[in-house]
Amino acid sequence: MSDTSRNRFDHAIATRCDEVTRRSFLAQSARALLGVSLIPAFAGGLFAADGDAAPVSAVRRPTAKNIIYLYMAGGMSHIDTFDTKPGSKTQGPVTSIKTSADGVQVSEYLPLLAKQMHHVALVRSVNSTQGAHEQGNYFMHTSYTLRGTVKHPALGAWMLRFSGRTNPTIPGNVVIQGNSNYPGAGYLDPRFAPLLIGNPSDGLQHSAKPPGVTEEQFAKRLEMLKAMNQQFQSRYDQAEVHGYQSVYDEAVALMKSEDLKAFDISGESQGMRDSYGDSPFGQGCLLARRLVEHGVRFVEVELNGWDTHTDNFDRVSDQAAILDRGLGTLLPDLANRGLLEETLVVVATEFGRTPEITDNNGRNHYPKCFSCLLAGGGVKGGQAHGKTDDQGAMVADSPVSVQDFNATIGYAAGLPLNEVVLSPAGRPFTLADKGRPVLGLFS
């Protein structure tokens, strides 16, 4: 960030916050700029909700122990899913239905979810500055815009970096059906990188010793390998090379874990599996639930195919059916198991889609306003935060930036939003950049 923009930002914040907040902000700025905490007593008092002057501790008791993050890749049409505009010409053929939350309506494409909206806080006023997939996806996942000179970490890596694992024998960060260029650990230690699962029904492949190889033989192989690699690693003192040492250590530890069965969804009844829907995404949601039960802290499941430039209504209806089945089953399943209170479920996407319907019956990219949602993990369900105008074209009330949205997730997980972690080149970054959590979403 340039000095001028930092000054502008300082000014904007300072005029909005009361004296206590401003002082702590100065301390915070010093930390951000110098990477040190000047006055420890002040660290942590920066954030305030819109129109609410009371300082809020950034580090507090978390309301969410785990996060299940569902990513709608390609840009989910807000108007056809969570922010319908009945009667507007931008709505097209989609009708709205009532939900279990008073006064909150959603698209007819989401009948199962409609019955779960009492768990859900919709955020209808998310807005991004990035209108292309790669940039938008990266921004949503990292809170920073895509740059050639640094790779920023995604939320799961931040979570492990700040508060570690709850189950040390299995990875704390898992991504199912993710983008092949998922930001992962970014510049943080590769230990925080996600375990990437391709097909959830296959679970974690190759997690057992090959048939016929004895324990002793396996140990011997590892010992020989260690000796081989020592030479190479001392010759090439590079992060990527060392990264391979940590993933091998991790893999070997994982093979011995009692909790490996968490990855195997064939341990679920057929009825349970069917209820999540016969799609990789649905089965991924089921796998996410199992993983969270076994102490995995962050699980992301991706649903691709929302880039509906053509045949928007047919395609959104197909996509929404998959989401509806997966999430509409996940929420009550978590609730029944008593896991929803400690698990924050997130639905995010890179941008919405144009209110205008094109000649191809499609909708194009639209970052100006779109919908995401949070459920469980201390979030007050049954509400819709923020508003867009009658056309679904502009934020009309309580805008939430991408950074604010991510700050809200970090806040729920009790992560230190203002703690600066320097990149190897010495550049200061935080979990959600300058984002401020939306406190009104919590109960």
Partner: protein
């Protein structure tokens, strides 16, 4: 056989012991006499010129070049970079036996002329162009894949290759017309297609300007729209007139069933899929157009975003004019971008990074070199094979990789290439090199039977096509009935043999087979994989083929995907980061499943070798392309490697080592 192998080991060993004696030849001698092609320049002289520029730049920054590499390191690196896989033992021995001072140049020339280079080049383009086997999940992608491979094989110059993509039109399944896949990939998204085109071929990011003036670069939304006007009127999809007639026919037969509707779509989406060009060169500004320089909804004319004006000649299509502008040697970015890309492919890092974010302020780490490479690309007539061959012949390429980390954003002056992890494709193809003989020659699926279906149906009238649909739908219905009948019969007995003898069962099975043929024609029944007919690969699973021969992208969970192969969603979406699943698949999967099987090429080659030490040496040569050090040899001996059961452990260890996975 044994004596020659022994001799070769001696040679291989000599290579390690006497590395200085095998030091790189001094470049810049006489040109290869075999270089008879008109445009083919003096490779050695061209390489020397590049080295001189690199040397000047290093000196200017008070840096020294890295040491030259010995033949072993060169051999492995060269195979991995040029043909995308490690060399086999036989190939290593062949090189070790060659004591000509020109052996490196000869090896490069041999490899770059081989089918392996085609595979490697395809992998690169597939990531760059987001090539998919099933674009939009419904269209045929193999014709495009075939076309790209054929263009690489036939040395189509890069400027002509790009022109062919940008001006493609007509039926997708018409033999030789696969270039249409470029537009099919972004069907219905002409604006995204334009952003992608500008990013890939002009190294410039304009996607921001699709919606608003670019915040960091100079591009305005108006400029973007004017550029988009060149291709905005191109359309992709099944022939709309045919679709209309088919629908009419379907309705005249009463309400079409779900299956019939689906059949209609399938037939139209394949045999009548086409890219339609247009003579129109205007576009309407969107309703939310927000700047004072034009009005919302206003029609604007196509206009080049930079460089020379694009004048559309009488009778010329707007796309032809735009492609000519794009690929012109005068275009200020086109040639530089591809020269920089090829430099990165060979050296591991671009002179400009990132590759596709050029702005007016962009300065290369070595501007003189980039200017020189740009001119060189023009001089070789955009022949990428020749261009690469020159780069591989430089001393700069044939130096040790830099051992310390190169920080992103820091200028790098190329004292040597950078250390790279194998790409997913290099890793998979290298593992296969240990498993299969003649791995470069084994082919996977191609578009042949799609072309055949097309040839069969291209001249059919709508009525005839509709008959095809109803016939297929009928046969699917019948199939279902027969399958149910067979199930019932099977439920009555536990004895499978008796069941097979039942004449009714036989009759039904025969009928089913015939019906399957019908159903296959529209993709309702899975085509069974062609059985292997080539004796070289008999007994090897059909999906053990190089990455370039597998579906693009490989399915999630495949080793290729674990190692970061692009999912083809975004431009250059591959990655080489470490991941736990990679370790797991090497620890417990592919090595025991394929490499250690008795029929693997490696195990077969080790089998006749007797003696512990020769077996250890042969294992090192096959996997790491080098002889073991004395210490390594002693360690392997004491661990029992080379003995009947110990070899597996050594093979496993070497494949799992960092040294295997990184290209030094």
């Amino acid at each position: 056989m044994r004596p020659s192998i022994r001799r070769a080991f001696a040679l291989a060993l000599a290579m390690t012991l006497a590395a200085p004696a095998f030091a790189a030849e001094t470049a810049g001698r006489v040109a290869d006499p075999s270089a008879g092609v008109a445009r083919k320049p003096d490779i050695a002289a061209a390489a020397t010129a590049i080295d001189a520029l690199v040397q000047t730049c290093l000196a200017k920054h008070q840096q020294k070049p890295n040491p030259e590499i010995g033949d072993e390191v060169f051999l492995r690196r060269c195979y991995l970079d040029v043909v995308g896989r490690i060399p086999t033992s036989a190939e290593a021995i062949e090189f070790a036996k060659n004591d000509s001072p020109k052996r490196r140049r000869e090896l490069i020339a041999k490899l770059i002329a081989s089918e392996g280079w085609v595979s490697r080049q395809f992998d690169y383009l597939a990531d760059l162009l987001r090539v998919e086997s099933a674009p939009m999940k419904k269209y045929p992608g193999d014709p495009y894949i075939d076309w790209i491979k054929q263009s690489i094989r036939a040395d189509m110059p890069y400027d002509r290759f790009v022109t062919a993509l940008l001006t493609a039109q007509g039926r997708v399944l018409e033999r030789g017309n696969g270039a249409t896949g470029y537009y099919v990939r972004d069907a219905g998204m002409p604006q995204d297609n334009m952003s992608n085109t500008v990013q890939v071929f002009l190294g410039t990011r304009v996607s921001c300007a699709q919606c608003h003036d670019h915040p960091f670069d100079k591009w305005s939304r108006l400029q973007y729209m004017q550029m988009a006007a060149f291709t905005a009127n191109v359309s992709e999809g099944p022939d709309p007139e045919l679709v209309k007639q088919l629908r009419k026919l379907a309705r005249s037969d009463g309400a079409p069933t779900q299956e019939e509707k689906q059949g209609l779509k399938r037939i139209a989406d394949s045999v009548r899929l086409e890219v339609r060009g247009s003579d129109k060169d205007t576009i309407q500004l969107p309703k939310d157009y927000q700047y004072a320089n034009a009005k919302p909804g206003q029609t604007v004319k196509a206009h080049a975003m930079f460089g020379d004006e694009i004048a559309i000649k009488h009778g010329e299509s707007p796309r032809a004019a735009y492609a000519a502008w794009m690929t012109s040697p005068e275009n200020p970015r086109f040639t530089t971008v591809i020269a920089n890309r090829m430099w990165k492919r060979v050296m591991g890092l671009g002179l400009v990074e990132p590759l596709d974010n050029f702005t007016d302020a962009t300065v290369a780490s070595d501007p003189e070199l980039l200017t020189h490479l740009t001119q060189l690309m023009k001089d070789v007539g955009y022949d990428l094979r020749v261009f690469e061959e020159i780069l591989y012949n430089t001393k700069t390429y044939q130096r040790a990789v830099t051992t310390t980390e190169v920080d992103p954003g820091e200028p790098y002056y190329f004292p040597g290439p950078v250390l790279r992890r194998m790409s997913a494709e290099q890793a998979w193809d290298s593992l296969l090199t240990l498993v299969l003989p003649d791995v470069d020659e084994r082919k996977g699926a191609n578009a042949e039977n799609q072309y055949a279906t097309y040839d069969d149906m291209k001249d059919k009238t709508p009525k005839e096509l509709w008959d095809v649909v109803t016939n297929v739908v009928d046969s699917i219905k019948k199939r279902k009935e027969i399958q149910d009948q067979l199930k019932e019969l099977a439920a009555k007995t536990d004895d499978k043999r008796e069941l097979a003898k039942n004449p009714l069962v036989r009759e039904l099975r025969q009928q089913l087979q015939d019906l399957n043929e019908d159903a296959k024609s529209l993709g309702y029944a899975k085509k069974r994989q062609q059985p292997e007919t080539d004796p070289r690969w008999k007994g090897y699973p059909r999906d053990l083929v190089r990455a370039s021969e597998l579906p693009s992208p490989a399915p999630p969970g495949h080793l290729l995907r674990d190692f970061g192969q692009s999912d083809r969603n975004l431009i250059e979406n591959a990655n080489a980061s470490p991941a736990v699943t990679q370790a797991l698949t090497l620890l417990n999967g592919v090595v025991d499943q394929h490499v250690l099987q008795p029929q693997s090429a490696l195990m077969k080659s080790l089998e006749p070798i007797s003696g512990q030490e020769p077996r250890i040496r042969a294992t090192y040569l096959a996997i790491l392309t080098r002889a073991p050090s004395a210490k390594e040899l002693a360690m392997a001996m004491s661990a029992g490697a080379g003995r009947p059961n110990g070899t597996a452990d050594l093979v496993w260890t070497l494949i799992n080592s960092n040294e295997f996975l990184f290209v030094q």
